[in-house]
C-alpha cells in the first residue's frame, strides 16, 4: 500500500501534451537544483563530517574507541531503553489511535491535542517533570527514598523520560490512517463471526501495518537519539546512566574527538539503517503486489 501514483500513471502523465515547454524545463531544473543544494548543505555535509572526523586517525583508532567499557555500557543502555520503550509505545500508540479513531466521546479533540504535548514541550522540560515528581525534593521523593527505590539518576528515570518523549510517534502516525480507513472491514469480519482478537490481528493490523512500521521506526529513532530529557534525569554517571548521545557529549567535552565521533557515527548508522530497512520493506511489498 505504498502511496503515490502508480508507474503506469506516471508513464501516462509523461505522454500528455503540453509538458515540456522551455520555461517548464527551466523551472523544473531550478527547483531540483535548489533542493539538492539545500540537502547537500544541511544534510549531507554534516553526515560526511561525522564520518570524516571519526576516521581522522585511521581505522584502528576508530575501532579502539569501541573497546572502552564505558562506551560499550552506553551502547547497551541505549539498546535496553529502546527495547523497553518501543514495544510499550507501540501498544499505547495503537490503543490511543484506536480509541480516538473509532469512537466519539466528549473531549476527544482535546485528547488529540494532548497526545502532541510531548512534541510541543521542550525535551528539557519533559525531563524536569520527572525530576520534580521523583527527585529527592519531588512529590514522591521521600516515599521512594524510604523504600530504597531510585528512579531519577537511574535507568527507570531514563526509560520514563524516553517513554514520554516518544509517545506521540506511533499514535500520530496511526490516527489519521484509522480515521480514513473506517470500520467497514472490521464490521464485516464481526458479522462473519470473528471475535475481537481475530478481527484485530487478521483485519485491522494488516490494514494499518505500513503506518505502524513507520511510526515504530520514528519512535525507535527518537528513543535512541533523545538527548535533552534523558540528560536531565540521567545524572551522567559514566558507565551506568549515560546513553549514547550523552556519552558522545562527555567524550567531546574531554577533547576525545575520535571516540566522540566514532560513537556519533554509530548512532548515525543506526538511523540510516532503519531508514534503509523501511525503504526495503516498502519496496519489497510493493513489488509483490505488482
Amino acid at each position: 500500500m505504498a502511496g503515490g501514483p502508480s508507474r503506469e500513471l506516471l508513464a501516462e502523465l509523461a505522454t500528455r501534451p503540453g509538458r515540456d515547454t522551455l520555461t517548464s524545463t527551466l523551472v523544473k531544473g531550478a527547483f531540483i537544483t535548489v533542493s539538492l543544494l539545500f540537502l547537500a548543505a544541511m544534510l549531507f555535509a554534516p553526515l560526511i563530517t561525522v564520518f570524516a572526523a571519526a576516521f581522522e586517525k585511521g581505522y584502528e583508532a576508530y575501532f579502539e574507541a569501541f573497546k572502552d567499557s564505558d562506551t560499550l555500557a552506553a551502547i547497551r543502555l541505549t539498546l535496553t531503553v529502546a527495547a523497553i520503550v518501543v514495544p510499550l509505545n507501540t501498544i499505547f500508540g495503537i490503543a490511543a489511535a484506536w480509541a480516538l479513531g473509532k469512537f466519539e466521546f466528549r473531549g476527544k479533540s482535546m485528547l488529540i491535542t494532548l497526545i502532541d504535548l510531548p512534541i510541543a514541550v521542550s525535551p528539557v522540560i519533559s525531563g524536569l517533570i520527572y525530576v520534580l515528581l521523583f527527585g529527592t525534593q519531588g512529590w514522591f521523593g521521600l516515599w521512594l527514598q524510604e523504600h530504597d527505590i531510585s528512579i531519577i539518576y537511574a535507568v527507570p528515570g531514563i526509560v520514563l523520560a524516553t517513554l514520554f518523549v516518544t509517545f506521540p510517534y506511533v499514535a500520530r502516525e496511526l490516527l489519521p490512517l484509522m480515521q480514513q480507513l473506517g470500520n467497514d472491514e472490521e464490521e464485516a469480519a464481526i458479522t462473519m463471526g470473528a471475535g475481537g482478537l481475530m478481527t484485530f490481528f487478521h483485519v485491522t493490523l494488516p490494514k494499518i501495518r505500513w503506518g505502524l512500521v513507520y511510526g515504530v521506526i520514528l519512535c525507535n529513532a527518537r528513543a535512541m537519539g533523545e538527548f535533552g530529557a534523558v540528560s536531565v534525569v540521567s545524572g551522567h554517571i559514566r558507565g551506568l546512566t549515560t546513553t549514547m548521545p550523552l556519552h558522545v557529549e562527555i567524550l567531546y567535552n574531554e577533547y576525545n574527538f575520535v571516540a566522540a565521533f566514532a560513537v556519533a557515527s554509530l548512532l548515525t548508522l543506526l538511523a540510516v539503517v532503519t531508514l534503509v530497512v523501511k525503504t526495503l520493506v516498502e519496496w519489497r511489498t510493493g513489488y509483490r503486489k505488482r
Binding site: E187, A188, I190, T191, M192, G193, A194, G195, P206
Partner: protein
C-alpha cells in the same frame, strides 16, 4: 417469519433516526428498504445485523429474540456499499474467512469456496487480490464472502452504489439469481426505486425514520397511501379533488378513480389525487379527448427519452384541476403537469413546444390522507397573510407538498353562529391561538371544516405529538390525521388515554388503550406509544403539554359542544403548543348533515366555475 422487528427505535443525540419501525419479512423473501438518504434505512439494516444497538423495541430472527445478541452471533451475511473486502487477502482467503473463524477443515473450505465462486460467476479468480478486480467483481466477491457461513439472512447495504449503470444491472441479476437459488431471506437497502422494482418481492418505503408503507412493487405504485410514497415511487402529479357522495370530481368534472376503502366517501371533502404522468391524455381539443377533460394547457418542454416522451404541460388558469405539486418540484404554485407519452401516442398526435392542448385524465388514485391542503382563515386579509407566513405552517406545507390558501371570513371575528361562511371551508383551517380560539374553531366546524390547526405565535415543528380523542366516534379520524401528520414530521407519537376515575374502570381503560394502539398500527400504519392518565381530560392534557418543549396536540371530537364544554380550558390561555382539532360528527347527528351535502356539492361546483 424470518425477520421480525417490533417497534424498533434508534436515537442519535435525542433525535430518532429510526422511529417505531415494525416489520415482518417472510422466509425466503426479497425485501427492499427504499428511502432517500437520511431516512434511517441503513441504520435499520445495521440494527438487524447487530452492528447498531436499538434504544427501544425488539428484533427477532427466525423466532429468536436477538435484540441483545451481538453481531458476531446473529449469523447474518452483510454486504457493504464499498465492498469492505480484506485487501491483503486473496479472493479465496476472503471467502474462506468466515469458515476459518469456525475452524472448518481446509478441504471443506476449498469445496465451499469453489461452490460460492461458481454461484457468483467468478470461477478461477481464487488467487487474485481484490485490487486486481473491477468494482463489480469485488462486489460479487463480497456477496460470496457474506454467504460463506450459510447465514439465514442476507443483508445488503446499497450494494450497487459505487458501480456504473451497466455493471449495476448485471450484478442486480446475479444477486437476484443467487437469492432465488439459495432461497435466502434478503433485505436490501437502496435509494433507487428502479432497483427496488427490479429486485423486490416486497418494498418498504422509509422516510424520516418511519416505515411509511410496505407492499408489492405494483401495489405500491398503483395504490400508494401517502404523498411521499406516491411521489418517491415514480413520477406523480398531486392534484386537489373533491370527494362527493357520487364520486371524485375535479371541479365539475367527474373522473374515474380506483376505489380506496380508506377514503371516507360519505362526507363531502377535499382529497389529494395522484395522477401518474402516463395516465394523462393529451388531445388537440376537448372533443377529441377520449377521457374526461380537466383543463387546457400549453406544452412547455418536450424531452425525448427513447421509448417514452416526457412533457411538461402548464395548466391554464381556467383548469378545473388544482395542481399542488409534482414529484419533480415542490413548488405548490407551479402549475406544471408532468406527462409521458408512448411512441404510439406521439405518432397519433405530434406535439411541439408552445402548442396548446386539451388535457384529459384516464385514471387517478385518491390518497386516503385526511390532510389535503391548508386554508389560513382570518377576519381580515392582513391577519390571514400573517398566518400564511408562519414558519411552522410553511414548513409543514412544504413537507406535505401541498399548498396554503387564504380565506377571509368576517363571521370569524365574532364567531357569529348566524353568519355563515361564503363557501364551505375546505382543507385544514388554520387560525392563530388567542382568546377566542375555541369559538372560532366551533364556527369553522359549523361551516364545513373537518380539521382546525391552532398555531401559537412562536412554535416550531414538534418533537412530541400527543394524541387524544373525546370519545370513540372520533377515534378513527383522529388516528388518520395523526398518521398523516406524523409521516411528515419526525416526532414521537404518544396516545394519552385519560379516564375520570380509578377502580374498575382501570381494566377498561387499559383495554381501550391497547385497542387504540392496535388500530393505529393495523389501519393507519402509525406506531405510537400509549400512556394512561386519570383525571379531568383538559387539565391532564394541559399538564402534559406544558412540560417539555415543542409539543403538539391532536384532539379528536365528535360534537362541537364537546369542544366548548370539556376542553374550553385548553384554549383559555394560549400555551406554546400547537393544536390540531379533528371534528367528525358522530352518526346520530349525521342525518341532518346529509341534507346539506347536496347543497354543498352545488356550491363547490359553483366555486369551481367561478375560478374558471
Amino acid at each position: 417469519m424470518s425477520i421480525r422487528l417490533d417497534q424498533v427505535t434508534k436515537r442519535y443525540q435525542g433525535a430518532p433516526v429510526v422511529n417505531d419501525v415494525s416489520l415482518e419479512v417472510a422466509e425466503g423473501e426479497f425485501f427492499v428498504l427504499l428511502g432517500p438518504s437520511g431516512s434511517g434505512k441503513s441504520t435499520l439494516l445495521r440494527a438487524i445485523a447487530g452492528l447498531t444497538g436499538v434504544d427501544h423495541g425488539r428484533i427477532h430472527l427466525h423466532g429468536q429474540d436477538v435484540t441483545h445478541v451481538s453481531a458476531r452471533h446473529r449469523g447474518v451475511g452483510l454486504v457493504f456499499q464499498n465492498y469492505a473486502l480484506f485487501k491483503h487477502m486473496t479472493v479465496g482467503e476472503n471467502i474462506e474467512f468466515a469458515l476459518r473463524v469456525r475452524r472448518v477443515k481446509a478441504a471443506e473450505r476449498l469445496k465451499r469456496r469453489r461452490e460460492l465462486l461458481r454461484l457468483v460467476a467468478l470461477e478461477g479468480m481464487d488467487d487474485r487480490l481484490p485490487t486486481q478486480l473491477s468494482g463489480g467483481q469485488q462486489q460479487r466477491v463480497a456477496v460470496a464472502r457474506a454467504l460463506a457461513h450459510k447465514p439465514q439472512v442476507l443483508l445488503l447495504d446499497e450494494p450497487f452504489g459505487a458501480l456504473d449503470a451497466k455493471i449495476r444491472e448485471e450484478l442486480r441479476r446475479t444477486i437476484r439469481q443467487v437469492q432465488r437459488e439459495l432461497k435466502i431471506t434478503t433485505v436490501l437497502v437502496t435509494h433507487d426505486q428502479e432497483e427496488a422494482f427490479a429486485l423486490a418481492d416486497r418494498i418498504g418505503v422509509m422516510n424520516l425514520g418511519r416505515l411509511l408503507e410496505t407492499g408489492r412493487p405494483d401495489e405500491l405504485y398503483a395504490r400508494p397511501a401517502t404523498r411521499f410514497v406516491a411521489t418517491f415511487l415514480g413520477a406523480a402529479n398531486l392534484l386537489l379533488a373533491q370527494q362527493t357522495p357520487h364520486g371524485i370530481r375535479f371541479g365539475t368534472t367527474p373522473v374515474r378513480a380506483q376505489p380506496v376503502d380508506k377514503v371516507d366517501s360519505t362526507r363531502e371533502h377535499e382529497v389529494v389525487a395522484v395522477l401518474r404522468p402516463e395516465e394523462v391524455e393529451l388531445a388537440p381539443s376537448r372533443d377529441a379527448l377520449q377521457t374526461n377533460f380537466i383543463g387546457n394547457g400549453i406544452v412547455e418542454e418536450i424531452v425525448f427519452t427513447g421509448a417514452l416522451e416526457r412533457l411538461r404541460v402548464r395548466l391554464a388558469g381556467s383548469s378545473e384541476a388544482q395542481l399542488v405539486s409534482t414529484s419533480a418540484d415542490n413548488q405548490a404554485t407551479n402549475a406544471v403537469l408532468e406527462v409521458t407519452r408512448t411512441q404510439h401516442e406521439q405518432r397519433a398526435f405530434p406535439l411541439s413546444v408552445q402548442q396548446g392542448v386539451a388535457i384529459g385524465v384516464r385514471r387517478i388514485h385518491v390518497l386516503p390522507t385526511p390532510l389535503s391542503s391548508y386554508t389560513a382563515c382570518a377576519a381580515t386579509s392582513e391577519a390571514a397573510q400573517r398566518i400564511v407566513q408562519h414558519p411552522f405552517l410553511t414548513e409543514l406545507a412544504a413537507r406535505m407538498k401541498t399548498r396554503i390558501t387564504t380565506r377571509v371570513e368576517e363571521g370569524l371575528a365574532q364567531s357569529d353562529p348566524n353568519k355563515t361562511a361564503a363557501e364551505r371551508i375546505s382543507g385544514v383551517a388554520v387560525i392563530p391561538a388567542q382568546g377566542q380560539t375555541a369559538q372560532q374553531a366551533a364556527w369553522l366546524f359549523a361551516n364545513g371544516a373537518g380539521e382546525v390547526l391552532i398555531l401559537p405565535a412562536h412554535t416550531g415543528l414538534p418533537q412530541r405529538v400527543l394524541i387524544h380523542w373525546a370519545d370513540d366516534h372520533a377515534r378513527r379520524s383522529t388516528l388518520a390525521v395523526a398518521a398523516s401528520l406524523l409521516r411528515n414530521v419526525p416526532a414521537e407519537a404518544i396516545y394519552l388515554g385519560i379516564h375520570p376515575g380509578a377502580g374498575d374502570e382501570r381494566r377498561i381503560a387499559v383495554r381501550s388503550l391497547l385497542d387504540a394502539r392496535t388500530e393505529a398500527q393495523a389501519i393507519h400504519g402509525l406506531e405510537m406509544r400509549t400512556e394512561l392518565h386519570f383525571g379531568e381530560a383538559a387539565e391532564e392534557l394541559r399538564k402534559q403539554l406544558s412540560e417539555g418543549p415543542e409539543q403538539m396536540l391532536i384532539l379528536g371530537i365528535s360534537s362541537i359542544e364537546q369542544l366548548q364544554r370539556d376542553y374550553a380550558s385548553l384554549f383559555a390561555t394560549p400555551g406554546n403548543y400547537s393544536i390540531m382539532l379533528v371534528y367528525r360528527p358522530s352518526k346520530e347527528s349525521e342525518s341532518t348533515e346529509r341534507t346539506d351535502t347536496t347543497r354543498d356539492a352545488a356550491q363547490v361546483s359553483e366555486r369551481a366555475a367561478a375560478q374558471l
